[in-house]
């Protein structure tokens, strides 16, 4: 019996394990194997209608549904946080359709589905990152025609992208792209790393984890196998640089994580906090304290482990 729920049980519809039917899973699995064999190349696939709108992570969900099994532990993050709307609803989707065991701990997860961040904790061999991708084609804003961008990839004609970066430098003195910063994969394909901040780009370089990318609306799947060269595009005299902040995280004091700026009042007050919520909580549990932790816990916005 393949149905995850039998017909009529609680009057719920019957559907297959992990929502997708087996033929769809096979099609996605074949696309994934080709994607892994040609790192950075976008494999077309027959993206299905999912029970949520395209643009809400349907590509990532279809990839996760094709790979997940009972032995997996799933972590879902949205902009680094485990507790934001997109992450909560996708996690609940897999809990309902695949009885998925879920976790918020990066090191316990075997599959990490993500929207727009790579966790701060280093990834391990055997883990699979699944990225939700809105626009898989890094050249699309430079060349609107698919027939043309396909030829540009086929012949490795990436001059246009270098010109775009050069024009940025000529006009602003630096490359102004701060997220979805284009990368060269295995020295062959220019790839969109999904809208992760460029802060996360260096984490993709020779990562021990397998990285899979799903774009549901644009119907593309691509991949970066472990230990693969992922180089951010730059120039010798303008080397790639990641963002930095003048102050550490206000809650956990981390000076080496990606920080979100949060407006906290109407007097111009603001604070910087880790975007990776699990990383921040782990550090606070270890006793790291940021300058604004006492204020935040007094307002019951966060738990202060040292006091409780």
């Amino acid at each position: 019996m393949n149905a995850h729920q039998s017909v009529g049980e609680n009057n719920k519809p019957a559907y297959n394990y992990a929502y997708l039917d087996e033929q769809t899973k096979r099609m996605i699995r074949r696309a994934l194997l080709k994607a892994v064999a040609i790192p950075g190349y976008q494999v077309p696939f027959g993206s299905r209608e999912m029970p949520l709108a395209r643009g809400w992570g349907t590509g990532g969900i279809q990839v996760t549904a094709a790979i997940i099994g009972p032995d997996d532990r799933l972590k879902v993050i949205d902009q680094g946080a485990d507790d934001t709307t997109n992450a909560v609803s996708i996690r609940r989707f897999f809990e309902r359709t695949a009885d998925a065991r879920t976790t918020e701990a990066t090191d316990e997860a075997t599959i990490i589905q993500t929207r727009h961040r790579i966790p701060e904790a280093p990834l391990k061999s055997g883990q699979i990152m699944v990225y939700q991708v809105p626009q898989p084609e890094p050249l699309r804003k430079l060349e609107p025609h698919e027939a043309e961008t396909r030829k540009m990839h086929a012949w490795a004609e990436y001059g246009l992208m270098q010109v775009k970066l050069y024009e940025n430098i000529a006009r602003f003195g630096e490359v102004t792209t701060t997220y979805d910063y284009p990368v060269m994969v295995n020295g062959r394909y220019v790839m969109a790393p999904s809208p992760i901040p460029k802060f996360d780009n260096p984490k993709m370089q020779r990562s021990p984890a397998l990285q899979l990318f799903g774009a549901g609306r644009e119907k593309r799947i691509y991949a970066v196998p472990p230990h693969t060269s992922v180089r951010s595009l730059d120039f010798e005299d303008h080397p790639f640089r990641i963002q930095s902040w003048e102050q550490p995280c206000g809650l956990c004091g981390a000076a080496d994580s990606y920080l979100d700026e949060v407006v906290i009042d109407d007097q111009g007050g603001r604070m910087f906090v880790c975007s990776d919520s699990h990383h921040c909580e782990t550090r606070r549990a270890e006793g790291h304290r940021g300058a604004m932790l006492a204020d935040a816990s007094a307002l019951h916005l966060v738990e202060d482990e040292a006091k409780s």
Partner: protein
């Protein structure tokens, strides 16, 4: 002909979870080339197919993917078994196949006979399952490429003379080229086109 030769053997007893388990082994094999993976799923394959080859095709092949088999297998129980369980068409022209099973020791067809994709759609290439006498004990081959930390060595045996030169020529077509799965018993090794052959000895 004895009765048991005309009867088709069973496929997956639990298609959803067994194909998921097999797929993860295949994904691991092709994303980390050179490392042997075990497909520990009890399926009795038809004569002529290694268990790992049969599991890979049960997991991946269907009516959208033509399969090429050596003539002896195509006309025998293996062909009937794949037609029934996968619903796949069996083709005679290697260049039309999405999947192929070859005997590593057979001199024909060459890897170049299969579809290596084109420069705009390199993903449309054939995945060739090479059935070996053993995954160890043969010529030692040093590999490098995506999925491999540094270099690694494999030594499959029972491959035809010149096989590694064919594979090096295939890797030179990158990003086009066929992807290989070496299979023997329940074990397999992935060798995607991105893997470079550094030396053989």
């Amino acid at each position: 002909m004895a009765t048991n030769e005309t009867l088709l053997g069973a496929g997956f007893s639990d298609p959803v979870f067994q194909s998921q388990t097999a797929f993860r082994a295949l994904l691991a094999a092709l994303s980390e080339p050179g490392q042997a993976r075990e497909l520990a799923i009890a399926v009795a394959p038809p004569a002529g197919l290694e268990p790992a080859s049969a599991l890979a095709l049960l997991t991946l092949a269907d009516y959208e993917t033509p399969i090429w088999l050596p003539a002896a297998l195509r006309d025998g129980p293996a062909g009937a078994w794949l037609r029934f369980h996968c619903g796949a068409a069996l083709v005679e022209d290697p260049a039309r196949a999405a999947f192929a099973v070859i005997d590593g020791a057979a001199l024909e067809p060459k890897l170049a006979a299969f579809n290596s994709g084109d420069d705009q759609f390199p993903d449309r290439s054939t995945t060739v399952i090479v059935q070996c006498a053993a995954l160890t004990g043969g010529e030692v081959v040093t590999l490098e490429g995506p999925g491999i930390a540094g270099t690694c060595e494999i030594a499959p045996s029972g491959l035809r003379p010149g096989f590694w030169a064919e594979l090096a020529a295939n890797a030179a077509l990158y990003p086009c080229g066929v992807d290989l799965i070496l299979s023997q018993g329940a074990r397999l090794i992935g060798l995607p086109r991105s893997t470079q052959i550094l030396e053989t000895r």
